[in-house]
Amino acid sequence: MESFFALAHGVTVALQPMNLLFALVGVLLGTAVGVLPGIGPALTVALLLPITFKLDPGGSIIMFAGIYYGGMYGGSTTAILINTPGESASMATALEGNKMAKAGRGGPALATSAIGSFVAGTIATLGLAFLAPTLVELAVQFGPEDYFALMCVAFVTVSATFGDSPVRGLTSLFVGLALGLVGIDKLTGQARLTFGVPELLDGVEVTTLAVGLFAVGEALYVASRRHIQEEVLEPVRGSLWMTKEDWKRSWKPWLRGTLFGFPIGALPAGGAEIPTFLSYSAEKRLTKYPEEFGKGAIEGVAGPEAANNASAAGTLVPLLALGLPTSATAAMMLAGFQQYGLNPGPLLFAERPELVWGLIASLFIANTMLLVLNLPLVGLWVKLLAIPQPWLYAGILVFATMGTIAAKPSVVELTMLGVFGVLGFLMRRFDYPIAPVVVGLILGPIAEAQLRRALSISLGDPMILLQSPISATLLGIAVIALILPFMLKGLNRFKMQED
């Protein structure tokens, strides 16, 4: 009950006209940078810190919250419209979302993404307000072995993005794993596969790979076959708005996405990518329209988008409750807090309740503001697709390279973008699925590092993976998820023979 009063008070703080203005500036800025690949909310907050220094703490933290949520929206808008995920967590959205946009269903895709983000953001922010202390106790119980087991679950579900040939799907995945090896080995500090190029020491940037494979690769592919099939984009075919059918197909994925996103986001090493993949593959398995997946299924947009936003709120759980910055953006928000001599952590709730609840309330307001701003814009956004094709693709490439230049102004990075573009083109031409490459790059290094940490703690005893109840459960789920499809297939065959 106490929390309710505190939250209500927080809302009155956040609703002050000045703070509303800060929230508005925040969501606008966040959306603007979110659409740019490579420039995320973290970088924006970092760059704005010195500017906001003069503002009062409440106002600027509210603005940061707006940037944070706004960035999520922006990232998915470009993923849907121009197949350029603004950040790695929007990759799953691009898979189905862009297909929908090309089929003239960009409007519903954007709408389900916006409403799904709102629903997930709201539920997750409620979770943040009321469950943070409990959740965080559970989250710190997650050891390296448990993270490794979680990665195993994620790896198993990746097969949902494989397409129809397991060999080609696995090939893509292993190319991604190979790319994940590049750089300094986290546990011994040695360089692997860097060939003496210092820029490679930090490894392959996920956004560079994703933008190269998705955006540049697609531009090359479409350009190369223009003479065969002129790509005609109709911005709107059917309804601009979500139909009753769309609503019916969206609401469950929204909720399921939230359930994936919030808890995993709250884990100190959980991140936003894994829940989006999990949500995507869950929706693919549960859908009544499996034939639409890969061609623009609305569930494939609704689920991952909700997961993405819910995980953003989840990340704030360890930040506010423990002072643990578990993502780049959270680290910047921590720096923002510290700028005013505030230390997030167990004491912040007790010492400065008005700030914490003000922040949580402003997350609600930022979320609502984004919905109100974005829904009317859907019509405008899809008009982007009506831009003549040469300019549209030229713009996409300018976008893609600009993000890379701004984030890491190096020739090596730009060359990688080009090489990944060519790779993406070849993979499209020879019908290799693209998403597993990015998945491999994201999951591979985490899985490796966590397994090695676990084994270092256990002095090399692999039984640690089974002794931890969390890890044992997750590994069990992974095994079931791996075997179940085969068993079901066998069962079906059996049944057919019966008939």
Partner: protein, 159 residues
């Protein structure tokens, strides 16, 4: 999936298999040159080994499907647009490397890509690209104080 000519060996498919094999070898070679190992638990060589072996197996798998001619059919393609886009990217990289500046680099990429998609108004597109580059530059370099590549044009604005 039905293939019209299942007996025909797919040459590009074999090339892909070969490329995977080369990649596997490269990873193996790099792995064996690692000097330091972890004191406890798994060392830095385990993962490269797994990936390398996996890639080698997949190379065989891909080769088998190439021999069976199982790869999906491909349509003819035109090289000019591809070269135009890659050329635009190469010019952009060169412009960044040789300090020609962000705005001209953006303009060239824009115009090249647009040409790749069949537009014949290179000069007009170049101007559009310049304006777009200028707007982006002002937004990022001035508003967010990001350090974008500087050339003569950018210095002129900066001064």
């Amino acid at each position: 999936m039905t293939t019209p000519n299942p007996r025909r060996v797919d040459k590009p498919g074999l090339l892909i298999a070969l490329a995977l094999l080369v990649l596997a070898g490269l990873i193996w070679q790099d792995m064996s040159s690692l000097q330091l190992s972890s004191v406890y638990g798994l060392g830095p060589k385990a993962m490269p080994m797994v990936v390398s072996i996996g890639l080698a197996i997949l190379a065989v798998g891909n080769a088998v499907s190439a021999f069976r001619g199982e790869l999906p059919e491909r349509e003819s393609l035109r090289w000019t647009p591809i070269l135009l886009i890659i050329g635009g990217l190469a010019l952009l990289i060169a412009f960044v490397e040789f300090n020609v500046g962000f705005i001209p680099a953006t303009a060239v990429l824009f115009a090249c890509t647009s040409a790749a998609f069949g537009r014949r108004a290179f000069i007009i597109d170049l101007v559009i690209g310049l304006v777009a580059g200028l707007v982006i530059y002002l937004l990022f370099a001035k508003l967010l104080t990001l350090s974008l590549p500087m050339g003569p044009l950018e210095r002129l604005i900066g001064a």
